[in-house]
């Protein structure tokens, strides 16, 4: 039988063998918006910049307290130019990324990473890009030509399932065809082959 003796599949690393760099020699913090209430930041700080800032702090006679993320927010409909300090997060040693939970759907956000002194002075090491988180409610803005009252909006919204994200509920993970393509195969560990 022509195909009765298939050749062995190769177990283990199918396409790897690459050690990825831990960093790219950059000094930057990048901000991403995950959902209406969550930001994600990752960063890479150059050692010489970090030590230079710390040296400057010491020369000013100040005392380093901790490394922090300083989070800035702008009101929902205002531009990124209106950013104001919202809160700080203390960083654990060695952290290079962080999920930041905010109550800020539709608002613009920015994050600085830096050093906070015992007396409150803040010395930034890097400033992130600005991210506007997605909205999670009806817009207040109406189109004059295509008027839509709140009543009509809610009727149409109810007809659409009231913003139900049915096809994307958690069952998405379990029921997604790409996941279902080989659910049984998935329990065959490659290294057991």
């Amino acid at each position: 039988m022509e195909n009765s003796d298939p050749v062995e599949d190769i177990p283990g690393n199918a396409d790897g063998g690459f050690d990825l760099p831990r960093g790219y020699g950059d000094n930057k913090i990048t901000l991403m918006g995950r959902d209406p209430g969550t930001l994600y930041a990752y960063w890479e700080i150059k050692k010489d910049i970090d030590s230079g800032v710390r040296e400057g702090i010491r020369k000013q006679g100040l005392i380093v307290s901790k490394s922090i993320l300083r989070i800035y927010e702008a009101a929902k409909d205002s531009s990124a130019a209106g950013l104001k300090t919202a809160f700080d997060l203390e960083l654990k040693d060695g952290a290079d990324n962080w999920y930041i939970h905010v109550g800020g759907a539709g608002k613009a956000w920015r994050v600085d990473i830096g050093i906070l002194c015992a007396t409150g002075e803040f010395f930034p090491l890097a400033q992130s890009n600005v991210v506007r988180l997605p909205a999670d409610e009806m817009s207040d803005i109406c189109d004059e030509e295509w008027m839509c009252s709140e009543g009509l909006y809610h009727k149409m919204s109810a007809a659409a399932g009231g913003c139900d994200r049915g096809g994307s509920s958690f069952e998405f993970i379990h029921f997604h065809p790409r996941d279902a393509i080989h659910p049984r195969d998935a329990i065959q560990p490659r290294d057991a082959i």
Binding site: F18, S157, G167, R184
Partner: protein, 526 residues
């Protein structure tokens, strides 16, 4: 004009998986199973309807990676070998099961299906199924659209707009090569929309795209037609919202049709059920049991006990479910008509692979549905998004809200503890690629080949499938390996470009292995 319209959209996509270095590769089976279980049955449905004079409209999104794989000589030859093996197995099953009449009928059904699949794939469509979809499009029945180049999740590329543009432009270029025109629409991967990306679609001639319902409902200004009309973004590109009610009827494992007890059970396959020595030649090359596609049981119920599958009962159920779907759409249209001054359009979109592969009777359901709608066309008529956009002179404007069809409606599936490590690399690659394209304008020779392969590696690393698979926890090792591999090769090639010390052996091997988008032009990033 009908009282209301139904716009069915099937999104067909698989990540680019092609491993010429191995004779057998487990994950390549995803494509082979989808061809036999989904793409060929759907093509058969469309051919049947056309030959019977049934008027229908449907939209099919073919992702560029899928288009490339369907036209790849190596994968096609491997598919045909696999199909031959299945025909052999089904023939053996027809003999083995002869004493058990009910099972034997099923074995013969599979034998017939596999032989038919081979005929359709090879003889009818010349080993290139994209030709079938082109034919349906030319006949005006199927609107074939496409997706981004490698199904990259665009909201997380917005920091580097050239990367978004490249995902779109490379996709459109391939589509033009295969279908001879610019696609009317684009399926944004995972329905991931970020405000402003509609401008990029407009720039390449895309007329419309889709978002999840809340992308419209939370859009600005407030949408007066809900999700039952398209809207025009500031760019002039139209956006349609996905209807949840009709989608859930098919999608939901709890409320949807595919869970009916008469339908075929996916998880009982002879690859697992039969004697190992008997099935060994037909399962994985390494000897691990896998699905063969031959399944003899119906869902039956929640318990492990499964009755034998009865084809006729399953067909009767599929017909009843099609009737139910039509009845509910008619009711939906009636309800919406009271609130709208124009005919509503209901956009029902699904992953194509749901039909046939997971829900075995899905293509039959679709055929019943389209026949039924044809015979009651005054109430609800099928339409393509382009067709609906031609109905009225004006459409309201909107800026859709950032959204996706992932869990909770935003980006959590593609950004959590299981996969967040990839983004610092993907963003850096986009930055390096853009700079390299700008620094090496009009590159020729080896430099050009390096730049083009860098573009392929970046695109492949960006595939949303890898982050999704890492999150889902199945095949996560493969997804992580693939991501690391594309990042690693990209960085190595970038370094070679920078130093001028190009490793021609590595370049040749990489071009040969990851050979998609043969006519890619790296300057798309400039």
């Amino acid at each position: 004009m009908a009282k209301g319209y139904l716009s069915l959209v099937l999104h067909a996509h698989l990540p680019f998986i092609r491993h010429p270095e191995y004779e057998n590769f487990l994950e390549e089976n995803w494509l082979f199973e989808a061809i036999t279980d989904t793409y060929i049955p759907l093509i058969n449905v469309f051919d049947n309807l056309i030959s019977d004079g049934v008027d229908f409209r449907i939209t099919v999104s073919l992702s560029p990676t899928l288009i490339d794989m369907l036209r790849d000589d190596l994968l096609v030859s491997r598919y045909l070998k696999r199909l031959d093996r299945l025909i052999t197995l089904a023939g053996m099953e027809a003999g083995r099961t002869r004493p058990e009449e009910r099972i034997n009928r099923l074995a013969l059904m599979y034998l017939d299906r596999f032989k038919q699949a081979k005929y359709v794939f090879s003889e009818k469509y010349g080993n290139d199924l994209t030709g079938a979809f082109k034919k349906f499009q030319d006949l005006g029945k199927v609107e074939v659209i496409t997706c981004c180049a490698t199904h990259g999740y665009l909201p997380f590329m917005d920091l580097h707009r050239p990367a978004v543009k490249a995902q779109v432009r490379v996709a459109v270029d391939l589509y033009k090569e295969v279908f001879g025109k610019i696609p009317n629409g684009m399926w944004l991967p995972e329905h991931g929309y970020h405000p402003g990306h509609d401008e990029i679609l407009r720039d390449v001639g895309i007329r419309y795209f889709f978002v999840e319902a809340h992308g419209i409902l939370f859009g600005t200004p407030r949408p007066g037609y809900g999700i039952y009309s398209p809207y025009l973004c500031g760019s002039g590109t139209a956006v349609f919202g996905r209807d949840m009610e009709s989608s859930k009827a098919v999608w939901s494992s709890r409320e949807g049709y595919p869970g009916d007890h008469n339908y075929r059970e996916y998880y009982r396959d002879i690859g697992f059920d039969l004697d190992y020595d008997y099935i060994r030649p037909f399962i994985n090359g390494c000897g691990a049991r896998v699905n063969t596609g031959i399944k003899y049981h119906r869902i039956t119920g929640e318990s492990d006990h499964k009755d034998i599958y009865e084809r006729q009962a399953a067909m009767d159920t599929a017909a009843a479910h099609a009737e139910d779907f039509v009845f509910n759409r008619e009711k939906q249209v009636e309800h919406l008509s009271g609130m709208m001054d124009r005919s509503p359009v209901i956009v029902s979109s699904y992953d194509a692979e749901l039909f046939g592969h997971w829900w075995f009777e899905g293509p039959d359901w679709l055929e019943f549905l389209l026949r039924k709608l044809h015979s009651s066309r005054d109430k609800v008529k099928t339409i393509t998004p382009s067709g609906y956009l031609d109905l009225y002179e004006k459409y309201p404007g909107i800026t859709p809200s950032q959204s996706s069809w992932g869990w909770k409606g935003y980006s959590e599936v593609w950004l959590d503890g299981s996969n967040d490590w990839i983004y610092r690399h993907l963003h850096k690659m986009a930055e390096l690629m853009t700079d390299a394209a700008r620094d090496h304008k009009n590159a020729t020779g080896r430099s050009r080949r390096v730049l083009n392969q860098m573009a392929r590696e970046l695109l492949l690393a960006q595939s949303s499938d890898w982050a999704f698979i890492m999150k889902s926890g199945t095949f996560d090792g493969y997804a992580a390996d693939r991501t690391r591999g594309h990042i690693g090769r990209f960085l190595a090639l970038h370094d070679q470009l920078r130093t001028g010390n190009i490793d021609m052996k590595m370049l040749g091997e990489t071009e040969s292995k990851y050979n998609l988008f043969r006519n890619i032009d790296y300057s798309v990033y400039a």
